[in-house]
């Protein structure tokens, strides 16, 4: 299998915020398709996404996306024209309809021709299955529908680089599945960076994954490689093993332990979550039953 070409390259991105390093020398490479960004709360995921979305410049380091250097005015403008961004807390003008909101974002994205803009608004609302509620006020839509409106806004102009900040948070399982389907579609032919703390999202959607903790990249590779980190390091026991780095009771009543197994332990097939837990710092990976 040939490696797809790199579309986004970041080198040494650092940003101090409130006296701490929100980002501390982050370097990564993205290719076409969906890349998952995993990390605990406060890991710096949102800050990294804001930097890559040009919402805030880094203190140090640089990056290029789709061949554009946001360190220059022309590069920043070119990147913004090729960017779709769904922030963690997308805000809506409460009295806007779904159509009016996406139309407003389309104007900000320089779609000035009214007829062409309206066609584009219809296209993206259709793409996220909101054709039936185009004229409804956003305040009357469910949380899942609002997230889809925000995704539609991000898709305006057919951007080549899509930055999605925890879009599945707060959605019920059915809405989450639906949203995953939309992200998978959006990832065809595009570079998508999806921030999440749900390993399920990564397992189902992503061809690559980056683990961020305390502002640093702890892992970069495929989900299979992250899972492989836990090979031979997951075992079951009747009681929680105190030597385990993490352990939790499963549905069968036995404990699933992650760490360095004792001799003769009953080893289990590792999952992505196991690999993720082992990748995090020891302070943040202690999980109690």
């Amino acid at each position: 299998m040939t490696t797809p070409p790199t579309t986004v390259t970041a080198t040494g991105l650092s940003l101090r915020y409130g006296g701490t390093h929100a980002l501390d020398g982050v370097s990564l490479r993205l290719t076409r398709g969906v890349t998952g960004l995993l990390g605990p709360n406060g890991a710096g995921k949102t800050t990294l996404l804001r930097v890559l979305a040009t919402a805030v410049p880094p203190d140090r380091g640089e990056f290029t996306a789709l061949g554009h250097d946001p360190g220059t005015s022309a590069g920043r403008l070119a990147l913004r024209r090729a960017l779709g961004y769904l922030p963690q807390t997308p805000g809506f003008h409460p009295d806007f309809t779904a159509f009016a909101f996406v139309d407003y974002v389309a104007i900000l994205k320089e779609l000035t021709d009214r007829a062409a803009r309206h066609r584009e608004v219809r296209r993206v609302l259709d793409a996220v299955d909101l054709a039936d509620v185009r004229g409804k006020r956003i305040k009357r839509l469910s949380g899942g529908m609002r997230q889809r409106v925000a995704l539609a806004a991000a898709l305006v102009g057919d951007p080549g680089f899509l930055v999605l900040d925890e879009p599945t948070v707060g959605l019920d399982p059915e809405q989450r599945m639906r949203f995953r389907g939309l992200i998978a579609e959006a990832g065809e032919g595009r570079t998508v960076l999806l921030s999440t703390h749900q390993t399920e999202d990564v397992a189902m959607l992503c061809h690559r994954v980056v683990v961020l903790a305390q502002g640093r990249v702890r892992f970069e590779g495929t989900p299979a490689e992250l899972t492989a980190r836990a090979a031979g390091r997951v075992w079951s026991s009747a009681e929680r093993d105190p030597a385990a780095l993490a352990g939790w009771r499963t549905g069968t009543g036995t404990f699933r332990n992650v760490g360095d197994p004792p001799e003769g332990a009953h080893l289990l097939e590792p999952t992505l979550e196991d690999g993720y837990l082992l990748t995090l710092d020891s302070e943040s990976r202690t999980v109690t039953a």
């Binding site: 040009t54 410049p57 963690q88 807390t89 805000g91």
Partner: protein, 280 residues
């Protein structure tokens, strides 16, 4: 139906060349007039017709432009700019009513104590506050999406500033009309208003969207207190004399030049934080 779309307009519509606001009238009319829809079918080649139907379909979903938006378009403002102007967060009805109520109360107080300085002190602060609140995350729910949009941050800021200044100055102007006994003196809020707003904006890239207008507003009030302490009873305070007005004009000009020179900073670093805090 009391009217029908003119042949020429119908042909332009089918070609996608009809401009707003005629376009809006045609959209609305075609939705309800079978006769004009049938004429449209005969007025265009099949490809152009398909596009016209698609366009009409899209227009049916589009929100009807507000009265103000339609008025702006009739005055020659581009329809997308009119949409941005009317979507300015602090032009919501609740905000405008609050400003209006404050002005009415101030005018009543001026009549009560015969001291126009009450109004003259307040009036310049309203546009300053309005403009300060018209960008940044506090009142703009889609702020973070706007920050990363290709539209230049300074352009959006200026569009909103013009909208807020126009509304603010119009309200102040109406309040001035309620104080005819003070003649031209009642208009001496205007130059300080422009000076304070321009200075607040010019300092925003350096000091942030809260501290900059806060400091400027504080400086204005301090100036008035000092002027009041040095004035004889019922004499005009210095900022509202010819010398004070000249100084305000000079400050306004200087701040405008400074603001223009720092325009790119509104684009590289957002003027405010984000709703959930986070790095700026």
């Amino acid at each position: 139906m009391t009217w029908h779309v003119a042949d020429e307009d119908l042909r332009a519509y089918a070609r996608g060349e009809l401009a707003a606001p005629l376009l809006w009238s045609a959209d609305t009319h075609l939705t309800g007039c079978a006769q004009c829809r049938s004429r449209l079918a005969g007025a265009a080649d099949p490809v152009a017709l398909d596009e016209a139907w698609e366009r009409l379909d899209a227009e049916l979903d589009a929100p009807r432009p507000s009265l103000v938006e339609r008025l702006l378009v009739r005055l020659g403002v581009a329809d997308h700019t009119a949409r941005l102007l009317t979507a300015t967060p602090v032009l919501r009805r609740s905000w405008l009513l609050a400003v209006l109520s404050l002005l009415v109360m101030t005018v009543l107080a001026v009549h009560l104590v015969d001291r126009p300085a009450l109004f003259l002190a307040l009036a310049p602060l309203l546009p300053l506050g309005g403009v300060a609140l018209s960008y940044g995350p506090a009142l703009d729910p889609s702020y973070e999406m706007a920050v990363v949009a290709p539209m230049h941050g300074f352009r959006l800021l200026m569009i909103r500033t013009v909208a807020v200044l126009t509304a603010g100055l119009a309200f102040n102007g109406l309040a001035t009309l309620a104080l005819p006994e003070y003649g031209l003196l009642a208009l001496t809020w205007l130059l300080p208003a422009v000076a304070l707003t321009a200075t607040g904006l010019a300092l925003t890239p350096r000091l942030g969207p809260v501290l900059a207008p806060g400091l400027v507003g504080g400086a204005w009030l301090t100036l008035l207190v000092v002027a009041q302490s040095q004035a004889h009873s019922h004499s005009t305070l210095v900022p509202f004399t010819a010398a004070g007005q000249s100084a305000a004009a000079a400050i306004a000009a200087l701040a405008t030049v400074l603001l223009y020179q720092t325009r790119d900073r509104f684009d590289t670093r957002p003027a405010g934080g984000f709703v959930d805090g986070g790095a700026v």
